[in-house]
Symmetry: D2
Subunit: 137 residues, 4 copies
Amino acid sequence: MNLAITKEEVEQILAENTFTHYYGFQVKELGEGMCTLKVPFHEKLIRPGGYVNGPTLMSAADVAMWFAIMTKLGRTDMAVTTELNTAFLNGARREDVYCRAEILKMGRRLVFGTALCTNAKGRKLTHHSITYIRPET
Amino acid sequence: MNLAITKEEVEQILAENTFTHYYGFQVKELGEGMCTLKVPFHEKLIRPGGYVNGPTLMSAADVAMWFAIMTKLGRTDMAVTTELNTAFLNGARREDVYCRAEILKMGRRLVFGTALCTNAKGRKLTHHSITYIRPET
Amino acid sequence: MNLAITKEEVEQILAENTFTHYYGFQVKELGEGMCTLKVPFHEKLIRPGGYVNGPTLMSAADVAMWFAIMTKLGRTDMAVTTELNTAFLNGARREDVYCRAEILKMGRRLVFGTALCTNAKGRKLTHHSITYIRPET
Amino acid sequence: MNLAITKEEVEQILAENTFTHYYGFQVKELGEGMCTLKVPFHEKLIRPGGYVNGPTLMSAADVAMWFAIMTKLGRTDMAVTTELNTAFLNGARREDVYCRAEILKMGRRLVFGTALCTNAKGRKLTHHSITYIRPET
């Protein structure tokens, strides 16, 4: 398996990026066209009702897909999100979340994939459909 | 116009809530089944490339719809988001964003609406379709 | 208003196309970046429970958006649907349906718009978010 | 595996229903919380450009999910679709299509699942996210 980006490079992107840094995302797995992030529990992510807030999980899905695309195209290809659809299935209580994104279609112009957030026990929290558009060549 | 919640009450919810507080959302308009929030520009909301990050706008849409529902049902009704679909139309540069949400259907169990984020000149940034489920009675 | 396609040309497309012909779609209005279709009630469109079936309304939304795009780009530009999100708000009983589609963003590569199906009294039936991709130039 | 509905009962529903009858759907597999339908190629399903039309595939996804729910709840439970999101990945040429739906969350009120349409070689054609609402008890 020769990925177009290494786990170390992805971790560096996470560290450099103020926004992902805020969420504390960690790379758990990187494979061809897939990526799993860990979202470690943190009190600041809690919204009223005691659940991890939704934007955190949507952001995890978006970033995990971004890295999944990088495993195919490398860091230089600046694809951007055009569509992100989220279904909220179960609330994440005070617990770590895992978000696994995978590419279903790598087109010349559009990339489509799905992501699923679960807790450590595999309880499904959110499901996402994500479309990225690749830069013009 | 007799709304089930006042602008002052909504502003208090924004102030009390750590999560919305982070984004600095402000209530611009509150009407029957609608709400417009302002997202004042802040450097911390910028993602790589110089744009306001997507989760901020998705969060604005979600919160604006939440308040739109409160204008009908008041504060006590704890509806929660079940689906949030976002299309990214144009990037928000270093500028304030306005997010207007409105209810299209207030059902006994589900509430459906849309939200549109624009900049001060009306340039469309993101479009959202949002479904909330009401608590069982 | 100088549209890139006329109502007569659009009606000819509807008549020539076996698929839209099946549904009996009629053009009610054509404007810059918008189109309203009428879906005349027909017994064959009814699904169990006595409602007009969902695919008919999704098809109306898709075709109305296709024509809305043609008002900008003319008939030759063969844009295709990449995403179609539908929320079912109320069932259409044995009645005509009107579907109004409008473009929110006409990009160089992607076109995004929404469509709303209603009955003659304005009762909201379905809401759609639609993305088309334009052919490469 | 004790499903709440048998393959024979599902085939009877397909035969009785004018709408699904039109498409010629066939049940290929029925399991706990899942269903695979076959959409046999037929000339009448072709839209301009020589592809199977989108509403046919959206309808297959919707019906496959309906049957997946019946494997859990039986025939009497009249759940209805509230949301159906579709991504078009590749066009179906003059070929049979297979649509596999599976439930990701069976809630007391909402059921959420995904469906994937492929051709006989496994080429991905469409991806769907589907929400049903269960009748009030």
